[in-house]
């Protein structure tokens, strides 16, 4: 029954320019996920360093952060960030006379910070595992031949950290990508929001959401392939037992 109808509405959607809207939305989704996960990586490396470091106060704070962000729904965190900052941001924009700029960038900023905080809480564990995977003997050896702490970090730790963290980072990235759909609920026009607007305009929700779902899937699949490639490529010099 639905197949003919489906193809017809698919044709309508593409003919009336909503295909392009979805693609633009997908670009925004990619942009927000990338910025968000970058912020998350910074939080992750910092959090992992604090957690493996000696100070119990810092360790406790990092644990509290990961506990809260991981056990509370992502949507609730997004609402908190949005509602807590929407009024101050509007006042600031009013004062600076930059209302247009603010209305364009505010949802984006909320999205990036939200994705950063959420993905960061998972990145902490990823990087903590990676820190642990580097044999302490390597650092001792590097120190023994006279490298400074900075050199140790830059030449010995980071290159390996990056590789050890890749599989976990893939997981974090895939989740971040899907979590961006929630930012649509505070008004950012990304892929999900474009699909909602499109399904209202074309009255073809089934085809619209299917199309958006396919786009999410494609982005996810391509980035998955990129991660697999990166693991192989950057793992060339690593000694690993392959199953």
């Amino acid at each position: 029954m639905g197949y003919g109808l489906m193809m017809a509405s698919l044709h309508d959607i593409l003919a009336s320019g909503w295909g392009l809207m979805l693609l633009r939305g997908a670009l925004m989704t990619l942009f927000i996920s990338l910025c968000g996960i970058l912020l998350g990586l910074i939080i992750g490396v910092g959090g992992a360093a604090l957690k493996t470091g000696g100070n119990p106060l810092w360790r406790g704070l990092v644990n509290l952060y990961t506990l809260i962000v991981r056990s509370v729904p992502e949507l609730l965190i997004i609402y908190l960030l949005f509602f807590a900052t929407v009024q101050p941001a509007a006042d600031l924009a009013d004062w600076l006379d930059l209302d247009d700029l603010m209305s364009a960038f505010f949802p984006m900023l909320v999205g990036i910070v939200a994705i950063g905080l959420i993905s960061g809480s998972y990145s902490v564990e990823v990087f903590r595992g990676a820190f642990k995977a580097i044999a302490p003997g390597q650092l001792e050896a590097a120190r023994a031949i006279g490298m400074s702490r900075g050199q140790c970090l830059w030449r010995i730790m980071l290159p390996q950290l990056f590789w050890y963290a890749l599989p976990g980072a893939n997981n974090v990235w895939q989740n971040a990508l899907k979590d961006t759909a929630l930012i649509s609920l505070v008004g950012l026009v990304e892929l999900m929001r474009a699909a909602v607007l499109g399904s209202a305009a074309t009255r073809a929700p089934l085809a619209m959401y299917l199309l958006a779902g396919v786009l999410y899937f494609i982005i996810g699949a391509f980035s998955q392939a990129a991660f697999v490639w990166a693991e192989r490529h950057y793992g060339r010099g690593m000694r690993v037992v392959r199953a």
Binding site: M1, G2, L67, I68, R70, S71, V72, P73, E74, L75, L76, Y79, L80, F83, A84, K178, D179, T180, A181, L182, S184, L185, M192, A195, V196, S199, P205, L206, M208, Y209, L210, A212, G213, Y216, F217, G220, A221
Partner: protein, 228 residues
Amino acid sequence: MIELFQKAIPVLLQGFRVTLEIGLSAILFASLLGLVAALMRESGRKLLAWPAFLYSTVFRGTPLLIQLFLLYYGIGALPYVREQPGLWWLFSDGARCAILAISLNSGAYMSEAIRGGLQSVPRGQTDAATAFGMTAVQVFRRIRFPLALRQAFPAYSNELVLAIKGTSLASTIAVMELTGLARQLMSQSYLIVETFIIAGLLYLAINMTLLGCAWLVELSLGMRSQAR
């Protein structure tokens, strides 16, 4: 402060009940779905393994929000669905639709966890059981399943938390659960952080209770006493 106790807490507690109802039913259905899908994947028959693979890949590869809207606004609006009383019963109600979407989504993740457990059972164990004269059913019931369960359990209990967090999306299809009511309070009052803290504590309570139960199960399965 008075406003908080008079207004926010009773409202949020009401949402807490809806969240629990949706979450626990979704976990029940998702576990069944996950188990069936995992068994299909590991059955060694392409005709069974392929649909299960497709199911798990599609539902893990797209956002839950898309799946929810696709079911509620997409499939729920089809004339065919509106004519079938059984389907209409399922798709017309936001809460049922949310349970369906979360079950399907979480079931896909659980199937991967359970499959990992099934794959981890060493071949020698099942071979020995077969050589011992057990039937295929006995091998599964006595050897493969108990071992797989223990392997899969930590990953499975993680999925419980994710399923509970998924219930927050029900508010987007007008089901007033905890997050939906929290959003309402945040947009209407100045109690933004307070609302977040109370709602967050309620979610924390659900998740900690679930993880506590999982811990008890692990204890009773003898998983905790083993040296790691």
